[in-house]
Amino acid sequence: MTPAAFNYHAPSTLGEALRLLEDGSAMPLAGGQSLMPGLIARAIAPGAIVDLNRIQDFPAVELAPEQLRTGALVRMQQVIDHPGIAHDLPLLHQAVSHIGHRAIRNRGTLVGSLCQLDPWAEVPLAACALEASLLIAGPSGSRQTRFSDFAAAPNRPLLAPGELVVAADWPLWRSGHGAGFTEVARRPNDPALACAAALILLDENRHIERVALALGAVCPLPIRCHQLEALLLGKAADDVTAITLNMIAADLKGQVIRDDALADAAYRRHLAPIVAARALEQAVSRAR
């Protein structure tokens, strides 16, 4: 249906946008690929929409030796098309390549996905694996926050009223690392039933020097499998599958496992070791 009426603003600076967002009933609009369905279904009815798309102040794509910064208006398709990101931060390239369809990716933003915090989403999963952080501007100035703190609850980021995420910062792994990303979904590009993001650095003997493994869509938010990571350190790359399949259950203990019409909890528990092992195997095969 048609959205409920709202006042529309299209500021040209971040400062103007922040002033407009001081109104508690105002919502920011970037890519709109999550906001618009909500407006159209009248699940949300803000008094005002602050369209961010005319703002020039946001950083764009800034690729530095130690980190990638992606500003609030960086589109998902931009990330896929960026050769530097594909080379230096392959996990992000792979994660975003699994998202939706081209028309969605042409408008949807990385930062928007991080703020939306859907349990099955690829960008939050990559942020969990890479330990991304967010640059946030608000009435009381700017702050930097770790993604793990920002992701307070599904669809509920830790953002104070009037605050806006300006950029996401993604730490890079050393050249030669391998990245893996895999999903199980009913159809290509459908929301994942279970997904995994893996990063591996091997030493000269092909033993695991550094590893990160995050699971998405299984729990309400992406989780890092720290116990599995600790077990994998120092092991031979070839042992990754057996260790993962046998030991990942420990990281799921005590976690809420999602159960819904798409997949019940038992199926998600079944999928978790499979996607984890596939992602790690991919990462191992790409590590030099």
Partner: protein
């Protein structure tokens, strides 16, 4: 409440000025205000792809964009592929020849996505075409004939020694 916002855009090569409520979508603008009903509304969530148009050269779900966001933009819709009186666009002719449409509801959105694909990829293969079509729901055809249609255009362009399948709208 009618707080109409004035805007200008280019639609299929025509410059236009309109005034519209901010809550109306680009799909609403095209269909209800500009009489261009070729762009269809299916799910209003971005899943089905029936509303796909090109905005500044990029494929976009017209149902997920506010009309006012297209202020100053260049829009291409299915109507622009074969303006009234003109012959069918080669893509449309290929889809027709290969029986790649039945009810036609999904077809305009698919055509705009395929036009975008043909502009970007010199010789798309079956995997490229399938990936492009994955963003569109068709209940009638099973997609196979659409794939055949596009592959036939690619083959025809190759044997004519052309650099690219005709993709201009």
């Amino acid at each position: 409440m009618t707080n109409q916002i004035p805007m200008s855009l280019q639609l299929n090569g025509c410059p236009l000025k309109v005034a519209i409520e901010p809550r109306e979508t680009l799909a609403d603008l095209l269909r209800d205000h500009l009489g261009q009903t070729g762009t269809h509304i299916g799910c209003q969530q971005g899943h089905c792809g029936a509303c796909t148009v090109l905005v500044d050269g990029n494929s976009v779900r017209a149902c997920l964009m506010l009309a006012v966001q297209a202020n100053g933009s260049t829009i291409e819709t299915v109507e622009g592929l074969a303006p009234a009186g003109a012959p069918l666009h080669p893509l449309q002719q290929a889809l027709r020849t290969h029986h790649a449409l039945q009810c036609g509801f999904c077809t305009p959105g698919i055509e705009m996505t395929l036009i975008d694909l043909l502009r970007r990829e010199k010789s798309p293969n079956e995997a490229d075409i399938r990936a492009a079509l994955a963003g569109h729901m068709c209940r009638c055809t099973g997609y196979q004939n659409m794939i055949e249609a596009v592959l036939s255009l690619v083959r025809a362009a190759q044997s004519a020694g052309e650099d690219q399948v005709p993709g201009q709208g």
